[in-house]
């Protein structure tokens, strides 16, 4: 008896869209042994999720398997009856999704939902199913499982919800588990806990796992074998170590280079050939400001309390000198977004003082700040490029907007020239300016957002997770762009992020925030290499970068 559990042979999946047929997966061949863990890595649009959906039979109506086959335990599951398929899916193979909260039914207690999943495939009484559900909650290490049985999804954290999803997925002891970006959107520390749990359960029960992810570091840490997909094709298949140390395919090379590691700098993010194309910029070192110059931004004892609940931010003090880049790091709910918005003067602090170039701006109400002369000096780049552009504005309108409002320009040739100049500076082709946001790619939208923020030549740019929604290769380019802009224009950055590798590269100093309070701050490199507090250490250790993955493998082999 062979050990092969799943085999894809020359799989083609085609979607019928308004622009005709689009082939999302074109000829993927791979096999998976029993109990093996396979990483399926690629960027958005690479067809990795579609491959997962095709295996579990969850393709939506527009998608069709047009050629090739999928063999599960030797049986071609693209040609079996739908009744057989239903038994297969859920029982023999299960899937967990990216957004666990959206995948759970919000009006049913989680215990009942797990019991439902069991009853859909097994004959037993509801009482037995509930007992089994309780056992599963215990298996996914949820504390006080008896109490959590009756909890609704909104009462649980994201990590908890993902554990419930895992409990549901393993409820019928599947032979294959497909995890589609299981930890995207979770904090690094939660990500580590959930992934460790998933790996432990898979090993314990002999389940084969396909981990679909965009994060090479994550795949390296948890998978024995990685396949890389690009535009519907499999470009490379290797063990993590080989893949990272000697990538063969140019796409893999680019991807490996673009994934930030603990030691990489901004310049390392693109491959040698690409670097050749950019002209290196020479910037004269900044002259020391005359003594007595006030710092660009000074924040003292800033606090924000919301009507309901406690303080979101408390006792937050910091300062940024002109041209300096400061990172603000923390998990979701740590108050980093609230802080950045107070500094941007989009919301009012409850107490504390903010001064910009020695002048107090904290007392100006956020609703009047648009009239302040400092409005154009403090600009912000938002997290998700998809929702940071007005859907009814073209790229041109988006960039022109601050120029009209704050730059004192009128519609006309001067405005057109200035907008085109901004577009050029962020590397956005001028012919794209007439497009609407939905006609632009994620990277292009990010560029429009950055062009808009720098249009009025601000002194301080607040970057709120500017690359969190972007693919790694796009992130690499955007980070380089930001770094260049900073040095060219003597811009100061407040870089808000949960990605420690990115912050380490981008920022001179870093502030670690937890529950609205500063835990630790200092020079970035020193802070990350030698964290002083337990919390920072925990954060640093949870980051799945490639070396850590390799170290793990070495440890398990040695």
């Amino acid at each position: 008896m062979s050990d092969v559990l799943l085999e894809l042979n020359d799989l083609h999946v085609t979607f019928s869209t308004r622009r005709g047929l689009v082939e999302a997966v074109c000829g993927v061949t791979l096999s998976l042994d029993k109990g093996e863990t396979l990483g399926l890595v690629g960027e958005s649009g690479s067809g990795k999720s579609v491959t997962g959906f095709a295996i579990t039979g969850l393709l939506d109506a527009a998608g069709q398997i047009t050629a090739g086959n999928i063999r599960f335990r030797g049986q071609d599951i693209t040609r079996v009856s739908s009744a057989d398929l239903r038994n297969l899916h859920g029982a023999a193979m299960a899937m967990i999704f990216q957004n666990p909260r959206a995948a759970l039914n919000p009006i049913r207690a989680v215990g009942e939902q797990i019991a439902d999943a069991i009853l859909a495939h097994k004959r037993m009484s509801r009482v037995e199913a509930r007992a089994k559900a309780l056992g599963l909650l215990r298996a996914v290490q949820i504390r006080e499982p008896e109490k959590r049985m009756a909890a609704y999804p909104h009462e649980l954290s994201g990590g908890m919800c993902q554990r419930v999803m895992i409990a549901m997925a393993i409820s019928c002891d599947p032979a294959l588990l497909i995890a589609d970006e299981p930890t995207t959107g979770l904090d690094v520390t939660t990500q580590k806990i959930v992934m460790d749990l998933l790996a432990g359960i898979a090993a314990e029960r002999g389940m084969a796992t396909i981990l679909i992810t965009h994060d090479l570091g994550l795949a390296a840490r948890y998978c024995r074998r990685i396949v890389v997909m690009e535009r519907g094709r499999l470009v490379e298949e290797a063990e993590p170590k080989t893949l990272f140390q000697a990538p063969r395919h140019p796409y893999t090379k680019r991807l490996v280079a673009a994934s930030p590691t603990a030691s990489s700098g901004i310049a390392d993010l693109v491959t040698e050939e690409e670097r050749g194309r950019c002209v290196p910029i020479k910037v004269a070192p900044r002259p020391m400001p005359p003594p007595g110059t006030p710092p660009l931004l000074e924040v003292q004892k800033l606090a924000k309390r919301f009507d309901q609940g406690g303080a979101a931010v408390a006792d937050f003090s910091m300062m940024i000198r002109a041209g300096e880049s400061v990172g603000l790091v923390g998990e979701s709910g740590s108050g980093k977004s609230t802080t950045s918005r107070m500094i941007c003067r989009l919301i009012d602090p409850s107490e504390g003082e903010i001064s910009f170039e020695g002048q107090s701006i904290g007392h100006i109400l956020a609703r009047d700040f648009h009239r302040s002369p400092f409005r154009k000096d403090i600009q912000i780049v938002f997290q998700d490029p998809n929702d940071s552009l007005n859907p009814r504005f073209t790229a041109f309108d988006c960039i022109a907007h601050p120029l009209l409002r704050l730059g004192g320009l009128r519609a006309g040739d001067a405005l057109r020239k200035r907008v085109e100049e901004c577009a050029e500076r962020v590397g956005l082709a001028v012919e794209l300016l007439t497009r609407f946001p939905h006609q632009l790619s994620g990277g292009q939208k990010a560029r429009v957002g950055i062009a808009r923020a720098i249009a009025c030549q601000p002194r301080l740019l607040v970057l709120d997770e500017p690359t969190a929604a972007l693919d790694v290769s796009v992130q690499a380019v955007v980070l380089q762009l930001l770094d260049r802009l900073r040095r060219e224009n003597d811009l100061a950055f407040l870089f808000v992020s949960h990605d420690l590798n990115v912050v380490r590269m981008m920022c001179d100093r870093t502030i670690v925030l937890r529950n609205g309070r500063i835990v630790e701050q200092g020079e970035s490199r020193a802070l990350f290499d030698n964290p002083q507090t337990a919390y920072t250490r925990e954060l640093v250790e949870a980051v799945p970068h490639i070396e850590a993955g390799l170290a793990l493998i070495r440890r398990s082999q040695g």
Partner: protein, 282 residues
């Protein structure tokens, strides 16, 4: 209208031909409303008792009424009044409701709760009865039908605009607009309102049909438009007296006109949304 917009509209119409039928119907109604008085074969007001209550024939394709007036001519001329009442009523409730709703949805807090409760109170009344009461109190005039219809439609627009703005108020581009130097009120009027228009256009289209019915209903019970002015509701009311004697054309044709007008506006609704939503374009 750029050629891209037209191409997009063409694509939507191919996918949903009913939208085309509805658009043609609404276009026809508008044409009749504008040019009606010049294209009718007979005078809609002057009575001619010798020709009273004639069944449909080649000379009078929809028959004549109890005063010998041509029903077809009256139907055509009535379109202007009915459409005018519906369009201005819906226009007023849209303009007022969208602004109030958008401000509430954006500001939240006490203002939002206050307006919300007021809307609840308004909606707790049977709306048609409320309209009757208003017309009765304000006086039996066409303007008052418009005002009454506008007021009873207002809650829907307020709620709709409020909900649509509320889900967008925390999006990045709203904050970005403020960082670019827009005041709160400018964000609401220049950023949020244009973005909720497509959804509201659907509501307006559906509402127009309903407003026509409402105006006709008020006239039917003797409020608002007075005879001998041609109006579909009055025509049905007057024709109802003769239904027992088999003079079916007196109410069948105005009823049909009402039904078709409402149907066309409702069918148009979905098509309008698809055409106006920039995200549907590629």
């Amino acid at each position: 209208m750029t050629s891209a917009t037209l191409r997009h509209a063409g694509w939507i119409l191919r996918g949903n031909p009913l939208t085309g039928v509805a658009a043609a119907g609404v276009f026809l109604l508008t044409f009749i409303a504008i040019f009606g008085p010049w294209i009718v074969p007979y005078d809609p007001i002057v009575s001619n008792v010798s020709q009273a209550l004639l069944a449909p024939s080649a000379a009078h394709i929809a028959g004549t009424d109890q005063l010998g007036r041509d029903v077809f001519s009256r139907l055509i001329v009535a379109a202007r009044l009915d459409l005018a009442i519906a369009v201005s009523a819906v226009g007023i409730s849209f303009a007022v409701g969208a602004v109030i709703g958008a401000i509430c949805g954006y500001a939240g807090g006490r203002l939002d709760r206050g307006v919300g409760r007021f809307v609840d109170v308004l909606m707790a009344f049977p709306l048609f009865v409320l309209a009757m009461a208003m017309v009765a109190a304000l006086g039996n005039r066409v303007e008052n039908i418009v005002i009454a219809t506008a007021i009873i439609n207002l809650p829907f627009y307020i709620r709709f605009a409020r909900a649509e703005v509320n889900i967008r108020r925390n999006l990045g581009w709203v904050e970005a607009a403020r960082a670019c130097g827009d005041s709160h009120i400018s964000v609401v009027l220049r950023f949020l309102l244009p973005n909720v228009l497509p959804a509201m256009a659907v509501q307006m289209s559906l509402n127009l049909g309903w407003a026509i019915l409402n105006a006709a209903g008020l006239s039917f019970i003797g409020l608002g438009v007075k005879p001998p002015t041609p109006e579909w509701g009055i025509m049905v009311a007057e024709g109802a007296r003769f239904i027992s004697t088999g003079k079916w054309w007196l109410i069948a044709f105005p009823g049909l006109a009402l039904m078709l007008a409402v149907l066309f506006f409702n069918l148009l609704g979905d098509g309008v949304r698809d055409i106006l939503d920039p995200r549907m374009r590629t």
